[in-house]
Subunit: 201 residues, 2 copies
């Protein structure tokens, strides 16, 4: 920590934004590729600091479980869960024949995959007694997050908050989710981007 | 640590085996469901101890990266990677249009999903200079692990070892992989199982 960095949280956010600027790549179709440190290769030190920051933001809630969605949310959720000392539950994309028993189910329309897919969570892992924190790597149109919220509502569990690493502020997911009254925190909000620059809100 | 538990490694293995016996469920078709603590809900304390045990087993190798495969390997790989202080790379099941650029690719025939699928890793994340540890939750017929080894061979990286949480010893994957000369360690090897009992090797 040096210069104008005043606190651990500012340090984490600066580290993240510096990494997005140095290693992120903007691709055609509004795609921000951060696969060298967030969702194909994972920088574990950064991920651990992100988890610590989520704990700073949400640690005052009586979180019982962290909920995320496969695949790229899992690593970040596990690194964060160490700081909360709670289990992680990840929603699965419905395809496996191992998925038996009673399931909560929601449909997500994915821009990235160019198709709709179902996500499922076994009913026995979410109960009305649970206080949940949702964690995911990205928020753009908010479809995956809305699918998770739908599943949480089906289960009767309480949604205490949602922690996102990178929000695309120029897409409408963040506004929709906040307008629903969700306690949403995004560590980095990209206001605009093109091949030459990434601007944060 | 109590009674006849003599060391941290024995403690980890005992914790894991106790959990498999208390919470695992044997289902038709030789399926061992451990989704309450390993691959749908994740017990973070157990996962962290598993990571520590992998570090005890493989920490003497000059590991530069941990390689795993989505989805259920990711959490365990990230928890282990903290102990090694290296990044995680996870092979993706090929479907996303975010997967651009040069890719290593291998085909895996999955019993669980009842179909073949391709796995890919971006070439820039595996180089001949890398010393890799592969981590996964399960080893049965070894198809996923063989896909990862195929990708490692394409990349020219060195495979230092493979750490598996649960091996189904009554299927032939473990023997095939060991016969290939891979430094394979499975924390729990299930010798036989039915609805009433699970026997470890």
């Amino acid at each position: 920590m040096q210069g104008k960095i005043k606190s651990r949280e500012e340090y984490c956010i600066k580290l993240l934004k510096d990494k997005i600027i140095s290693d992120g790549m903007v691709k055609e179709g509004n795609i921000l590729k951060v696969d060298s440190f967030l969702n194909h290769q994972i920088d574990i030190n950064l991920g651990d600091k992100i988890g610590e920051e989520f704990h700073r933001l949400f640690g005052s809630y009586p979180i019982t479980k962290i909920l995320t969605i496969e695949a790229s949310g899992i690593g970040l959720a596990c690194l964060a869960a160490r700081h909360f000392n709670v289990p992680v539950v990840f929603a699965k994309k419905a395809k496996s024949k191992n998925l038996t028993g009673e399931l909560y189910r929601s449909t997500v329309s994915s821009y990235t995959y160019g198709m709709d897919y179902d996500i499922v969570v076994a009913k026995r892992f979410l109960t009305p007694e649970d206080n949940l924190l949702v964690i995911d790597d990205f928020l753009a149109k908010g479809k995956a997050l809305m699918g998770l919220i739908d599943i949480i509502n089906q289960s009767g569990a309480t949604l205490c908050g949602a922690g996102i690493v990178i929000e695309k502020g120029f897409q409408d997911g963040g506004k929709i989710i906040r307008d629903m009254g969700v306690n949403l925190h995004s560590l980095a909000i990209v206001e605009s981007m093109d091949e030459n620059s990434i601007v944060f809100r």
